[in-house]
């Protein structure tokens, strides 16, 4: 499983989370359902949510709208077609404010 976030550096506004799923033999894992959630490192802030769509076999993308500068934690909740569930965390440090 590989994840990428763009653009870099991440700024306040839209960002794309790309998640590539493959099994142990590097075969793409298709038809997974992925929801993405962003939380700030500080409690009490508004979380952000998005649903990823499969853009090519095994490749999923989601648009997250970072609404505040600072450190974020992005959680990918993955439900595989066979019913298994995975959760992956990416720390997105230093999302830059636009002002």
């Amino acid at each position: 499983m590989q994840e990428m976030i763009s653009p870099q550096p991440v700024r306040v506004g839209q960002a794309t989370i790309a998640i590539q799923l493959a099994d142990a033999s590097a075969k793409p894992v298709t038809h997974a359902k992925i929801s993405v959630e962003g939380d700030m490192s500080h409690p009490g802030m508004s979380p952000i949510f998005a649903t990823a769509t499969e853009t090519s076999p095994g490749m999923y993308t989601a648009q997250l709208d970072f609404n505040m500068g600072g450190d974020w934690v992005v959680l990918s909740h993955i439900a595989l077609a066979d019913g298994r569930k995975l959760e992956r965390r990416i720390d997105v440090s230093g999302v830059e404010s636009n002002q």
Binding site: D39, S41, H42, G44, M45, M68, D71, S93, E96
Partner: protein, 497 residues
Amino acid sequence: MKKALLNTNMHDPDKEFDGPAEAPPFDLLKVPLLGRLLMWRHSRTLVQIPLLLVSVAMILHGLLGPTISPKNLATVLTWVHFRGALVLVLLCAGNFFCMACPFMLARNFMRRFIHPRFTWPRALRNKWIAVALFALILFVYELFSLWSSPWLTAWIIVGYFATILVIDGVFKHATFCKYICPIGQFNFLASTVSPLEVGVRDRQVCSDCHTRDCIRGRHAPGSDLVILQRGCELALFQPGKVGNMDCTFCLDCVHACPHDNIGILSRLPASELMIDPQRSGVGYLSKRKDIAALTLVFCFGALMNAFGMVAPVYVVEAWLSHLLHIHHLAPVLGLLFTVFLVAEPAILLGIAAWITRTWAGVTLSWLPLIIRYIYCLVPLGFGMWLAHYGYHFLTGLYTIVPVTQGVLADIGWPVFGTPHWTLVGLPMYVVEPLEFGFLLLGMAGSLLVAWHLAEEDSAEHPMRAFTPWAAVCFVLFLGAIWLVTQPMDMRATLMAG
């Protein structure tokens, strides 16, 4: 008349006022039901028990629960709800958080079995340790990004419990509260601008009373060792008590008074900062360098603490790092703290003192002058804490709901359903005006205190004595306004980026 306006509870019984008779102050203990509840011997325990249970839940969830801060009880309750509710209760009522302190419940339970034998060393009977701890907590908060770590937050709570049990297990009276607890010192200072204080209802009754039960407590007949009711453990003798400094609202004095002569009385907020009488258990504020230092950390630390959460701090930090070739967080942060808590106050207060001496002709030397006037900054400092903590509290008001739902779901008891993570808090268009309102309120309070002190110091030129301190307030006020208008930028490490 002016004195009556300043504080209805601290007048000198030997002096008579020219104006109309004072109306008796509002007394919370005389409010139906609530007053009776507070007067109940176990009222404090009643509010401490739920907070103790919540503290235990916070510790367990902090250590064993989700590592993501917004989903953990320890971080959400500590850094959003506790801090915000604390300052709002201080603003609207008084030091009721010290009253409800769960640490004291654990300590009182321990003292059923362990009786401390030692008295706190005389050399340490001041606020210097608490001042250092207060500054250290502000520093550590930034250095380790405490808000982002449930685990560290839980350990801080554990550490607090451990420290109070050790200190108050070894030393008599309320040593921890009076000399160590940084949260308590924050509350003491902030409560000087609260509208309520524990005070004497009728001073004549105290004049005729010789029991001193309010400070000694009540003991079993024939035995001084058997305490029936504690007196004030913080050495505040009610007839000489002025204001809220060092008062934990424990109500021991209320229960101990044989004449039912102590109430929770209304007064003009910050009025106790406008006068400088000898205060029981405190002395003269103008002679307490330690409390002045506490005030300095309280006021300038409020700005530093808020500065740590806005975007420009990273520009400053990157510039310092580049300039000094330092690539570690601690020294850069240390430098920022030195600027905010040492250099900035030294320059601002030094200039104000110099102008007051030379222009207004106030004869005090510069340090006593600074100590006298530094208390005028308390309302503004409190306004900054209110704006900052109020922001987190109000914008994250409802976040406790999904976190609680999450906790209950995790332990297999989802009585409140699945967590609604979209529940957050009040919108910015509601919170922002409140932030400005808190700052304006603080500014007005600070100017009022400064004016009263200036009037007393320079009868001929009060405006000359007032202006320099008003200017200091104005500079800090502008800084505070600038801070709350900055985009928030919560980063876990200052060196990031």
